[in-house]
């Protein structure tokens, strides 16, 4: 049986202190960086797909532009991961970093050998691979938000590709990039 060496008011204050500290801690570590990763890749998709729509998916400039954008996204993600990893290193964080590294290598290999016929097909496959990564990361981290977001964006990607193929890149900029960016901003705002 618990002794009660403090008053109920003191107990209430202690519980409030614990709750405040827990919230501050999670904010300080940005929930494992999830909002930043979403904002980074949302911006990459928004800019990349909007530019692809303007330039045309078969334009020779598009491939180089995506390489540059993806490199920026990868470097920014690595920087966020390394920064948070220094503040609170964890085996799970390391495993997630390795998971995404392996995911990138396998996605690149599969896309190389699958040889999609058009730029839109390539964009579709990369986007679906990315969402598979989001959903599986959400499952691994028990994040319903990430699983829900991944499934919703997957639905939007498939819908845009099937229903409005001529507008696919613009659709991806708005609903793909826009959704990720909005979700990242929302997480940053709501979880702070």
């Amino acid at each position: 049986m618990t002794q009660a060496p403090i008053s109920p008011e003191e107990a209430r204050q202690a519980l409030a202190l614990i709750e405040t500290t827990t919230r501050q801690m999670r904010r300080a570590l940005a929930h494992g960086g999830a909002p930043y990763f979403l904002m980074i890749w949302g911006t990459v998709w928004l800019v990349g797909f909007a530019a692809t729509h303007v330039l045309g998916p078969e334009s020779p400039a598009v491939g180089g532009m995506w390489l540059v954008l993806d490199a920026i996204g990868a470097l920014a993600s690595f920087a966020v991961g390394a920064y948070l990893g220094r503040r609170a290193p964890s085996p799970r964080g390391m495993r997630l970093g390795l998971y995404w590294l392996v995911w990138t290598v396998y996605a690149a290999l599969i896309l190389y050998f699958a040889r999609p016929r058009t730029g839109d097909q390539l964009a579709l496959l990369i986007s679906l691979f990315a969402m598979m990564g989001y959903v599986s990361t959400g499952l691994l981290c028990r994040s319903r938000f990430l699983v829900g977001l991944g499934l919703a964006v997957t639905g939007l990607i498939v819908l845009g590709y099937v229903a409005w193929p001529a507008w696919f890149n613009l659709w991806m900029a708005v609903w793909g990039g826009g959704s990720l960016l909005t979700a990242g901003l929302y997480m940053r705002w709501a979880w702070s």
């Binding site: 618990t2 002794q3 009660a4 060496p5 403090i6 109920p8 107990a11 209430r12 202690a14 519980l15 202190l17 614990i18 500290t21 827990t22 501050q24 801690m25 999670r26 300080a28 570590l29 494992g32 220094r86 503040r87 609170a88 290193p89 964890s90 085996p91 799970r92 964080g93 981290c141």
Partner: protein, 104 residues
């Protein structure tokens, strides 16, 4: 099982334990400077409280080098996690068993 813990209940130590408990990964460690900035205490003050928690077996302090810079990381032990959770239960129980009061 609920157990009020005098050692944990001190406000700075309570916040240290809450911060470490808030890490998603039970095996995660927290950088000394991050914890110090979060709590708004001095190096000496934090070190003194950490020593008490370490002596009780509630936390593990690891000193290492990142490049040439020394870094100190703090992690919750299994005993520390259990003690903190039992303490939180004890606090909730105090509120629950008080007539006209309830946990919000």
């Amino acid at each position: 099982m609920a157990r009020f813990d005098e050692l944990i209940h001190q406000p700075v130590r309570l916040r240290i334990m809450a911060a470490l408990h808030a890490l998603d990964d039970p095996e995660a460690r927290l950088d000394f400077r991050t914890l110090r900035d979060l709590l708004g205490v001095t190096d000496g003050n934090l070190a003194a409280h950490l020593r008490k928690l370490e002596d009780a077996g509630y936390i593990r302090v690891e000193k290492t080098f990142v490049g040439r810079k020394p870094r100190t990381y703090i992690a919750l032990t299994h005993a520390g996690r259990a003690a903190f959770e039992a303490h939180v239960q004890a606090l909730q129980e105090i509120l629950r068993t008080t007539p006209g009061d309830g946990v919000e």
